[in-house]
């Protein structure tokens, strides 16, 4: 057979969706690392320190003993997790009472706060550090425009997807940088505490996030939240000829005919609506305490389009067929040509909550404050954790928390690198011994 005309190989398409979610996560982490390097070069201490909910119980002092720091950090994290739990339950209540509009407006508002205030403050830091010549009026105008476009992007459904995704990444980066300003021990213990909370909230029967997901599924609505949704991959080979694709809710294999249209509208590009950024009384004097969108943050809610009920072990929970808005949905799940196979179906969109972005980037940002070797190690660990979570998603086919595996792996690799690897590598390299 003539090698020049070989048909498209399997390797061309497989794994595409995973890359589409890995790329923004990597970009967000990269931006946070850059911010941390730029802003923490000048002030060698922990830079601008902030009073937030997370440091309300104890503010760390470098002269305390290790045991004191650990106790203080635990106290801080406990307070933070408690606040997060309360607010999440509040959100579940609101969702239950169908206050979706309120949640949606609230999300737009919190996007405004993050982009406008946190973004503005960080921009001021950067301008101060780099001695960038800009006057106050120009700065305000630019910031205002930037913020307004961002709010619209997260608010409106049919916004250009690239800009929307860009703004979500920016929001994640800003909040993540803000969190890295916390004292060191508090940050690490907080990360572990959030990972454990996430595990409990999504998997335990009484957990708020699990309730939220079940509510959303039973009503077949989308959860109002700031969620990053990777663009779906359309595979031209295996989609049936009329180009129609169907979406199924992965828990129940109902035929979706009826409630489709609004789902389509809601989900076509974005699941905008509510998120709350977690801020607390900031130095600037605003005293809000909102939470990072708890619900979505922890859910890697992937929806499956499973056609055949056979071989469940290789079934495709990550496959999701997206609907075209114009399509009519008379056809039931009749077309068996839709995808099955491993969880790397060729047409599927993975959704990752913004809170996951934030906490991954906080971990990497904190690692950057020590050294770049830890950054590389933690980056690989987080990506591996994300991959493992996606694989588990393929097995269990229910909403899974995206934080625990990645964060715990990240923290483990940070410790191992800092304690073991660095010494080894430096010793070898100094003597120019490599293998």
């Amino acid at each position: 057979m003539d090698q020049n005309q070989k048909p498209t190989s399997l390797l061309d398409t497989i794994g595409e969706e995973i890359i589409r979610i890995l790329t923004p996560v990597s970009i967000c982490m990269f931006l946070v690392v850059i911010l941390v390097s730029i802003l923490n070069n000048s002030s060698d201490s922990s830079g601008p320190s902030i009073t937030t909910i997370a440091s309300i119980a104890y503010s760390e002092d470098s002269s305390d003993s290790i045991w004191d720091k650990l106790k203080g950090a635990l106290l801080n994290s406990l307070v933070f997790v408690a606040v997060v739990t309360v607010v999440t339950f509040l959100l579940v209540l609101l969702f239950y009472l169908r206050c979706t509009k309120f949640l949606k407006y609230y999300m737009g508002f919190s996007a405004f706060l993050v982009l406008g205030f946190i973004g503005g403050e960080i921009a001021v830091f950067v301008i101060k550090d780099l001695s960038f010549p800009i006057d106050a009026v120009t700065f305000m105008v630019v910031l205002f425009n930037f913020t307004v476009v961002g709010v619209l992007a997260t608010f409106m459904e049919n916004f250009a997807i690239f800009i929307k995704q860009g703004y979500l990444v920016v929001v994640g980066m800003l909040v993540a940088y803000w969190f890295t300003l916390l004292p060191e021990w508090t940050t690490w213990v907080l990360l572990v505490a959030m990972a454990l909370y996430d595990l409990a909230a999504v998997l335990l029967p009484g957990g708020p996030l699990r309730l939220l997901v079940e509510l959303a599924i039973s009503r077949d609505e989308d959860i109002p939240a700031l969620v990053y949704e990777a663009r779906p991959v359309t595979d031209h080979d295996s989609v049936p000829s009329n180009g129609e694709v169907q979406r199924r809710v992965w828990r129940e294999r109902r035929h979706i005919e009826s409630d489709f249209i609004d789902n389509v509208e809601a989900s076509s590009e974005s699941n905008p609506v509510g998120s709350n950024t977690s801020n607390a009384s900031r130095v600037s004097g605003m005293s809000l305490s909102l939470e990072t969108n708890e619900r979505e943050r922890n859910l890697v809610a992937a929806e499956e389009g499973r056609v055949a009920t056979l071989d469940s072990e290789l079934s495709a929970p990550l496959i999701q067929h997206r609907i075209d808005v114009q399509l009519n949905l008379q056809e039931g799940p009749s077309d068996n040509s839709a995808l099955e196979g491993i969880g790397l179906g060729s047409s599927g969109a993975i959704k990752l909550g913004l809170g996951d972005f934030i906490f991954y980037s906080v971990l990497v940002g904190r690692a950057a404050m020590y050294d770049f070797m830890t950054v590389y190690a933690c980056y690989l660990a987080i990506i591996a954790g994300l991959g493992i979570t996606l694989m588990l998603l393929a097995f269990y086919q229910k909403a899974l928390p995206a934080l625990p595996v990645s964060v715990l792996l990240g923290v483990l690799f940070y410790l191992l690198t800092r304690l073991l690897l660095e010494n080894f590598v430096v010793q070898c390299s100094i003597n120019l011994l490599m293998f």
Partner: protein
């Protein structure tokens, strides 16, 4: 060193990998995933080795004796461990290949071509090379930004960072292409190829011991590049032969 110099050193060590990545690997998402997993695997191997040798480093050397012996044991053990890991990597890859072939059958696409398999091997090798370059060379660059640079007495002709980037480049080449040779050797059951890879790795590792002697890097580095060239040529010959064979079939 200045930022410009730092970027230069980084590109010196990783430039060819970057172009390989952009040209070949970024086109296929699966290969990107392979590179990432491979890098993770080799990072874990480095961590394990670091854990094992933690208690013994730094070696106490009296002025009379040098640290030849302990370092050679260190390199020997590390190379043996990594080569063992390579076999494990091959086993995992075999299983993955079966899964992918089954998937291809199910969605009625063609199975993996020979070039596909070689590309996966290349991606795996690149992960190994990148892990080496990043951890042995790049991660030492960033703390050193600022005025002045650093020289090692044993190799005082060039800044330390330049030397380490050059060594890293040689090793990246060796690692990237030996994975292709190794996978091919395991697939075909070719003993020669299977043995050449560990031998080359070991020889390259031992060659860096030459750097312990004063002025040793003048000899060590060119020899290292000879090994890298040899790996490249052997890989090229092998791939050419294999492709020609499969085409004639």
């Amino acid at each position: 060193m200045t930022v410009a110099a730092g970027i230069g050193y980084a590109l010196l060590a990783l430039g060819p990998s970057l172009s390989l990545f952009v040209a070949v690997i970024s086109q296929k998402p699966f290969l990107i995933l392979t590179v990432l997993s491979s890098t993770l695997l080799w990072l874990m191997s480095l961590i394990v080795l670091a854990g094992v040798w933690r208690a013994f480093l730094p070696f106490k050397t009296t002025p009379s004796s040098s640290a030849w012996l302990p370092y050679s044991i260190l390199i020997l053990s590390s190379v043996v461990f990594q080569e063992g890991l390579r076999v494990l990597f091959w086993r995992i890859y075999k299983k993955l290949e079966d899964i992918l072939d089954a998937f291809a059958d199910r969605v009625s696409k063609p199975r993996l071509f020979l070039t596909d398999k070689m590309q996966i091997a290349l991606a795996g090798g690149m992960g190994h090379g990148v892990a080496h370059a990043v951890f042995f060379c790049l991660s030492l660059l960033t703390p050193a930004f600022g005025p002045a640079t650093f020289y090692v007495e044993k190799c005082s002709q060039m800044p330390f960072f330049l030397v380490s980037s050059m060594i890293a480049l040689a090793f990246v080449t060796i690692h990237t292409f030996s994975m292709v040779i190794a996978f091919n050797g395991y697939a075909e059951g070719n003993r020669v190829d299977q043995l050449i890879v560990p031998v080359v790795h070991l020889v390259a590792g031992m060659l860096t011991l030459v750097n312990l002697a004063s002025g040793g890097c003048i000899i060590g580095i060119p020899l290292l590049y000879c090994m890298a060239l040899f790996t490249l040529l052997h890989c090229g010959k092998m791939v050419w032969k294999r492709l020609a064979d499969s085409q004639n079939r």
